[in-house]
Symmetry: C2
Subunit: 509 residues, 2 copies
């Protein structure tokens, strides 16, 4: 006899197939599609979104969710069927609030916005992007209005990326982080600047691409289930557990951006690759939230990728690939270069100490834009003022300013704070991981990344979307979100690298 | 006021978007997808096919077709709306015959079949492919049974590729062609064999790929709207008029396969690229039939690509790309090598004289398979016997025999005859083109392909699917299908290349 749970599974499997298909349309747009395909692609995305919306809002799905809810113990966090009902209901109840036309309009505008942004960024012409931004903001406002119970329109958007989070809570957390970082950055600024030298040399783009693939292969990617391509903005697309696609952007003469962004995207990819197979072809085969997702990418990129033990493992391999640039370079110099603190213009290339301030800027601006306190046409001026205020740097072109990120172009408003949230979560997870794997630094230095992968699979990856982010974090670390490990990690790291008095820095905060 | 035609257009546009999306799933599967993505991809294809089937069979679509049919003069072959009603009705009436589950099963089996075939071909193991072939045949039989009015099950399948064609008519045409070719091939066999030399040399795969892109760029491809990739079996995917993707397969040491198959796929791509913009995002933005489609690919590949004037244009460019292989080679030797007649194992690499016999073999075998006169497990033996009988060659491995083509793996049964039909049509079209463009040979030798593109756009491409293949051919050439120009073209060509007495060869037929 077919149960309601079976019937529910079949419906959710179709939704998963269509969601993955939409993921391919987007991946292809950013990596493979010839430019003149963009108009047709926007229509395809809108139509597929319309179909997805029909499926997600179908009354029969609601009926099956109710019926299946009786067959399972919905409160059981370990049961897959129970999670299917919980997550399926949450998705369904959100989807039914949004009119079908709005849903299709959002998808179409995202595709057009991506295209307009690509061109505007290339031409360094914010004006060419402005109409798309205004359209995205208008649609985001209409979308937020579908959820009038949210405390603010912004909270309604944020919930899609970080279920249950609110701007007010993030404000408080980000305030703690900022208060801790300002004295740290000031203390570093008083020290002699570190050399970026070893990471800036003759690094041809083709050789970089081959090298970063070699690096993530050592971390755990393989060509049976992964690909690496290039795109304007690096991203990761988990099209299926056996089909993980990460992209990179190689800058000739500059190894850091490709190296660390590829390790970052590997972290995202590994998460979706290692979701428990029993969750495959369900809405649970995804990350718990973007904050948790970013914790994975930032953990690999920074806590591992910029660590001294990792540099020890990496440097001989890098020197083999780029002997002219790296022969004779010491691990300490490479490690220092990989962690050089210097306020700068580009978020994805920022050091760990100043990175959070890039997020604080965007978090403030996107709330102001959405809630009408800032007009889109005034965004470049507000951006540049914010960069001067927060980071003390002057933005000389929109290309290196407000046009640098793809998110707003695709209508992703409410996404940015998850980067900083993820950074904080990564340190909290790492604290638990390091306690469970006491020799983790030695293992990393030896190129043995299995203990890290195993711990993350067990405590984070395998759960997919079964648990809410807070539930997952509690289970993995024994407590709710706490930014102290993140600040401790940064203070400790930079105290060593810049010979700071770690206690003094903490006391100033 | 919204008319029924407007409403019909909106529905057909959605179907077009989804069809194009299915095209991307398939292109990606064959070019980009990591192997372990195959299971998920098969489900995605099946689900998308189910959605397409729902849309294509929707009762509201039937109602709109009836209502729109009153608003237009359906018999008007020049009116786009009339064509939309005609073609839309034909597609709808076929779709409603096919159960939704069968439609999804066909898509899923095609994806699985493609995967099994790829592995079986690599391992030269027909047994590993047999279950997929049997499954595809079973499903094809069930599909054919949805159209009991067809004279034979095979005719029901053929109609999807060549509307209105029947196996009996094709048998008659193919009989004429075979009767004309047998004495021609025999006469050639009595002549001294031509050297394949210039086309077999040190041709590295990477350099081939760059070169064939340069060639089709000169013919009319550009990177704003086209891409070239590699795949196990070369194919073309017109995802949109501004998004044309062709693939190639480079064999190191052997220039012919990549060169001619890429020109072939360019011909397909150009057809869809040059459909009238007013037909975009409708079911009319496609080829009139596979026979007409193949006429375009075979025209560029053979009538142009293997012609003496084209070789004159090509050789200096090829010699620049491959100086070691081609420095000092004469046009006559290159032209002779490009047209060397020698019965061989691989269809896509066959010369023009023996190519039709490869089709005759497949056409016979697939009818026998479908209509129960041949068991799938006995196919390799039947294949090998047929190759001995028709071409006098011995098949030493299934990889170079029954496993060479992708079509049956994807459930495409009834497709093969369109290649030979297309070859015949290409010669008939060329006769008219050459009459309208008397200096076409000189233009080709000068690398000016615009007159050919313009003639084909005007007489073939721009019509898309507006006209039935017979209507299109009548308009373009003034008469129905006639295989005489094809036989005349081959006799004339080989009479020159092999110093035959052209009249004598014709008289023997």
């Amino acid at each position: 006899m077919t149960t309601s749970v079976d019937a529910l599974r079949a419906r959710l499997a179709e939704i998963t197939d269509l969601t993955r298909t939409a993921g391919l349309l987007s991946w292809d747009q950013q990596t493979m599609m010839p430019p003149r395909g963009s108009g047709a692609r926007a229509e395809e995305m809108a139509t597929l979104q319309r179909v997805l919306h029909e499926r997600a809002t179908h009354p029969e799905l609601g009926r099956l969710l109710d019926a299946a809810g009786v067959e399972v113990d919905v409160a059981d966090l370990d049961d897959v069927d129970a999670a299917l009902v919980r997550v399926g209901r949450r998705d369904h109840e959100k989807a039914v609030r949004v009119p079908a036309d709005l849903s299709a309009d959002l998808a179409r505008a995202a595709a057009h916005g991506h295209e307009a942004w690509t061109r505007a960024r290339e031409a360094d012409d914010f004006g060419a992007f402005l109409p798309s931004l205004e359209r995205n903001l208008e649609l985001a406002g209409r979308y937020a209005a579908c959820f009038p119970e949210a405390a603010t329109p912004y909270d309604a958007l944020l919930d899609d990326y970080e279920p249950g989070a609110t701007a007010a809570e993030l404000d408080a957390r980000f305030g703690e982080i900022r208060a801790g970082l300002v004295p740290l950055i000031a203390a570093i600024a008083h020290r002699e600047p570190r050399e970026e030298g070893p990471l800036r040399d003759d690094y041809p783009a083709d050789a970089q691409r081959a090298f970063v693939w070699r690096v993530i292969s050592a971390l755990g990617a393989d060509d049976a289930a992964w690909r690496l391509d290039e795109s304007v903005h690096p991203f990761s697309a988990g099209l299926a557990q056996g089909d993980i696609r990460v992209t990179t952007r190689c800058r000739p003469g500059h190894l850091g951006p490709a190296l660390f962004s590829t390790i970052h995207e590997f972290g995202h990819g590994l998460y979706e690759h290692n979701v428990a197979p029993e969750l495959d072809r369900t809405p649970l085969a995804d990350g718990a939230s973007l904050g948790i997702h970013e914790s994975q990418s930032r953990l690999w990129e920074n806590i591992i990728g910029r660590s001294e033990p990792f540099c020890r493992w990496l440097l001989p391999r890098a020197a083999e690939a780029f002997p002219d640039a790296l022969d004779g370079v010491e691990v300490a110099a490479f490690h220092a270069a990989a962690n050089r603190v210097a306020p700068s213009l580009i978020r994805v290339e920022a050091d760990e100490a100043t990175y959070p301030l890039h997020i604080v800027l965007r978090f403030g601006l996107e709330r102001d834009l959405l809630e009408g306190r800032l007009a889109a046409r005034d965004l470049p001026a507000a951006w540049n003022a914010g960069m001067a205020d927060l980071l003390g740097v002057e933005v000389e072109s929109d290309r290196h300013g407000v046009l640098q990120d793809v998110h707003w172009a695709e209508g992703a408003i409410g996404y940015f704070p998850t980067y900083l949230l993820g950074s904080a979560i990564s340190a909290q997870l790492w604290q638990s991981l390091a306690a469970d794997v006491p020799d983790v630094e030695a293992r990393i230095a030896a190129g043995d990344f299995a203990p890290v992968r195993d711990w993350l699979r067990e405590h984070v990856h395998r759960h997919g979307r079964k648990l809410l982010p807070g539930e997952l974090l509690e289970r993995a670390t024994g407590r709710p979100l706490d930014v102290a490990p993140y600040l401790d990690y940064l203070r400790d790291k930079y105290a060593r690298l810049y010979d700071l008095d770690s206690d003094a820095v903490a006391a100033e905060a």
